[in-house]
Symmetry: C2
Subunit: 571 residues, 2 copies
């Protein structure tokens, strides 16, 4: 079984073990387990045959600017056509918008296959699909009719334009302005870090852009959301200039653009000055997507490492043939840890998608609970999916040794490509603050309580040692959360500890999902179940180490950090 098929099979088993997925299957017409299996199998075959080769190509060929327009690698054209023809862009878009209306969990499982070795290529489909959701929610009917069918089929595409040179994480300082001139909106300003801000794969590009429509003093409450097409009926180019593309550590095949808008014509989406909250429809999907990209990278790196350790022979008694390096205890430890973190991330991202699906169809208090749960889990998934991708690539390099440091193996590319994941779509610090200030305090930890309930329930039916290990991590997490809530009176101390708290919540997730995986060993039907069971047990161990480190970090030397800051400013 290839690594792609294996991943598809594991995704399917994980979905089957998810109560939320079961509920979705029960209510979704026309979808059953065999259909889901077929879709994932098709995704695996498609990703392996059409996309796997794009990673190295796009890394070496990269994108370039010619006559003011971005040219993508030649190999992208047939791949994009295949992606369009396969219907992969609109998998989970509503049928009313021309999509297939399949659950997000199925889209997420497919995307984690598609992205394994071609993150850079995959990003265009990601932003186009997410953009279509925004238009579906907020665009005027005529715009929807014009754009949605063409986005779903990949004839046109969309980008997301938020950042500016002086407004990165600090969105409230956006200065790009929108003005009404003779009844139509015009955009003027500069946007940066725009993935696929320009390219030659679709005949039209729509920029979903935040611009200022009220004074800067109003911060994010003075921003509106616009659709800015790159061309208009009267002009080949709608007052938009590609200033440059960034030279980056990785993702060479994803053109990261700086765009200047000079009175570009635009269409207002939704309500005036409600741009940021509206854009969260897209941002939330992009964050889940980023989590999936990290997970895809982790599994790809793990797959390389797992094959290498069986094939590569070194060591053993000198008068005997060398043994596969997986026979060495420390290699087993490295693989155990790598597999635990990679699969836990994978299973977690899938589970979050399944929860989001169920939150759509549930009602009343259950719906609110699941929405709160999803909001609690999303920043954790975004960040630790991202970090697991990068860390797994690095761990795989270590497993391969010198070979892993060369370009003959793909792990060094996975390392480079994935380093951005904990920065874009909201940095680690932004996610941690979202979790603490909004989810824990403002929403009084509703999502966390639902999470704790879920973990307790699963632990109660697990084998004793496995359940106890997970519950112990949860108890430590609850202790930390309580200590944290008591620290509200000392804002600076909580600010310093936000990251440690964030990592503690990740330990909680690892315990929860580790427990879920470990249960595959209870009554294993085959080797894959046994594998998942052993991986889950390793995951519980990782959770214990993670929470121990986080607990030790909660009360940091704030005054020393402040002193360093003051001294650096005074230099």
């Amino acid at each position: 079984m290839s690594g792609y098929r294996r991943q598809a099979e594991i995704s399917l088993r994980l979905l089957r073990a998810s109560p939320f997925w079961q509920q979705t299957l029960a209510v979704q017409e026309g979808l059953d387990d065999p259909t889901a299996a077929m879709i994932l199998d098709t995704a695996a075959a498609f990703a392996e045959s059409e996309l796997a080769g794009l990673g190295p190509i796009s890394d070496q060929v990269a994108c370039r600017v010619e006559s003011g327009r971005v040219i993508t690698p030649e190999a992208y054209k047939p791949a994009w056509k295949a992606l369009r023809d396969g219907g992969w862009i609109g998998l989970d878009l509503p049928q009313s918008a021309g999509g297939q209306g399949l659950p997000l969990a199925l889209q997420t499982a497919s995307q984690m296959l598609l992205d394994r070795h071609s993150l850079a290529f995959g990003m265009l489909a990601g932003s186009t699909r997410s953009g279509a959701f925004v238009l579906d929610a907020f665009a005027p009917a005529d715009i929807q009719a014009e754009w949605l069918p063409r986005l779903v089929t990949g004839e046109w595409s969309t980008t997301i334009c938020i950042s500016e040179p002086d407004a990165g994480s600090d969105v409230g300082r956006i200065r790009t302005r929108a003005e009404q001139v003779a009844g139509s909106w015009q955009i003027t300003g500069q946007k940066c870090w725009i993935s696929y801000g320009d390219h030659d794969l679709t005949s039209r590009i729509g920029h979903l852009l935040l611009a200022r429509t009220a004074p800067v003093e109003l911060g994010t409450r003075g921003l509106s959301l616009f659709l800015v097409p790159d061309s208009t009926p009267t002009s080949r180019r709608n007052g938009i200039t590609v200033e440059r593309i960034e030279e980056k550590l990785g993702l060479h095949g994803s053109p990261t653009c700086v765009l200047s808008f000079n009175g570009a014509e635009a269409i207002l989406l939704g309500e005036l000055n409600r741009g940021l909250p509206q854009l969260f429809v897209m941002i939330e999907r992009m964050r889940l997507l980023t989590a999936g990209m990290g997970s895809a990278t982790a599994i790809a790196a793990l797959d390389v490492a797992e094959h290498y350790v069986v094939e590569r022979r070194q060591g053993g008694a000198p008068h005997q043939p060398p043994v596969p390096i997986i026979d060495h205890a420390d290699v087993q430890r490295q693989i155990g840890r790598l597999a635990a973190r990679a699969w836990i991330t994978h299973a977690f991202v899938l589970e979050l998608a399944a929860i989001m699906d169920r939150a759509e169809t549930a009602t009343g208090g259950e719906k609110e609970d699941l929405q709160a749960l999803a909001a609690w889990l999303l920043p954790i998934a975004k960040n630790f999916g991202a970090e697991t991708g990068f860390d797994s690539a690095s761990a795989a390099i270590q497993v391969l040794g010198g070979a892993g440091y060369t370009t003959e193996w793909p792990v060094e590319r996975l390392l480079r490509d994935s380093r951005i994941l904990s920065i874009f779509e909201g940095t680690t610090a932004m996610q941690a603050m979202d979790l603490l200030y909004r989810r824990l305090w403002k929403e009084e930890g509703r999502g966390f309580k639902v999470f704790a309930g879920l973990l307790r329930q699963e632990a109660s039916t697990a084998s004793e040692d496995v359940g106890a290990a997970a519950l112990q991590v949860l108890a430590q997490l609850e202790e930390i959360t309580l200590a944290f809530s008591e620290m509200q009176s000392d804002p600076r101390a909580t600010d310093y500890a936000t990251d440690a708290f964030f990592r503690a919540t990740w330990a909680g997730i690892m315990a929860w999902i580790g427990l879920r995986l470990a249960r595959f060993a209870t009554d294993p039907r085959d080797d894959l179940d046994r594998y998942l069971g052993a991986v889950g047990e390793c995951g519980l161990h990782e959770a214990q180490a993670e929470i121990a480190a986080a607990a030790a970090r909660i009360r940091g030397p704030g005054h020393a950090m402040q002193e360093i800051a003051a001294l650096l400013k005074g230099r």
Copy 2:
């Protein structure tokens, strides 16, 4: 003060705070504090003016093979000349060998300045200097007279040739053979991962090579050490072919060669079949050098981050100008952690060098104690110097955000260059096993006892809270060490836990050096003392988190790891 000067000044203060350095100063004729200060100041100025620019150049230009020989970037030639003229290669080589006979600590401090932004370039001087030590110890007198003066002045250079395609960490499987033909030795076989295995910077290259002189069944006890010049009096090329240079993630400016030896003439060094233990003269120096390379990278990355956070403005009240990002608590936390780990690594590497110096001049039981201490500390320094370099580069990228991911900033290059450091000169696993099996068990932890005594002594004269924090980490480490010694009866369990034990010892180092740094705050004379004091306090906090995680990892799920291994083999 530039980052280079600042580093030189901090190195000097750290040396002054080292009891071992004080003892060396007391016995070394012609060396005093002002002389040391002058040397470090010169090194800083030289590194900044002549070498700092080489990093980006060598990354972009890289090395190439032309007509079977390796061509280095053009900018290397004047830099190599300046390095030679400045006398930097032979700083700590004995005066009898043409060197300046200065302490290793001073060489190490200088090297950490020279390497900050030019690891790739610096590696040639590193292997040449280390090779000269080997020749000084084991070469016949005529070879010494021919080679040493030319190595010290950088007219000639040396490499270290150990690895083969099927013998990496498993040195005992080396198959390259040496045979005596008409009274002279001839080498036949292939060697790989040879840094500067060929280049155009010196007129002659001597390969220090391990070859088999007794049956493979004897493992490492059948290996002898040879000097294999790349050219002989009768031939421009001594039966050596450059098969290729590796394409790598980083260190593009350091040619990593695969070399074939076809009956190449060689000179036996030292005793037959004692090659590996003899080569340890070189390997030990290369490991300390690697620790220094990691430290240099960490400080370079920290320096970029420290400047960025003061200059880059984001956030703060919307109606006020944006604030320097160092005002944000989480940025302070990131910088505090980065600074703590970078400077602790720096101070630790320096201290180890000072201990090695003192071990040279001490006598009797003190000498043995210090030799055991150095042997205990070296694997820790090698590995955690390496890891800190890479982790610091990654942490600096996070501080810079999207900017750090672009090639406009040097941190992405530092990340790529440093990833190899925990692989070459002995992987993490090899270092961990050395520490556990040789230092802790075979030598009955003599080095660890000396270390614990040192830490206790320093803690006894420190302020109460700082001393208590360090002692608490030591107590946890001693507990882990004890538990570990009791696990000797279960070899497999200890094998799995070796890495966790290794990380626990690093926590002990962080506590020791954190304590040392924190003391600068006791009676600070200026802002630099205050900075070091605050950094030390952050370091103690890092030590506490590190030991907590390590303790939680000691008893890992060995059976689950074994199960995964068995399933992977059975696929």
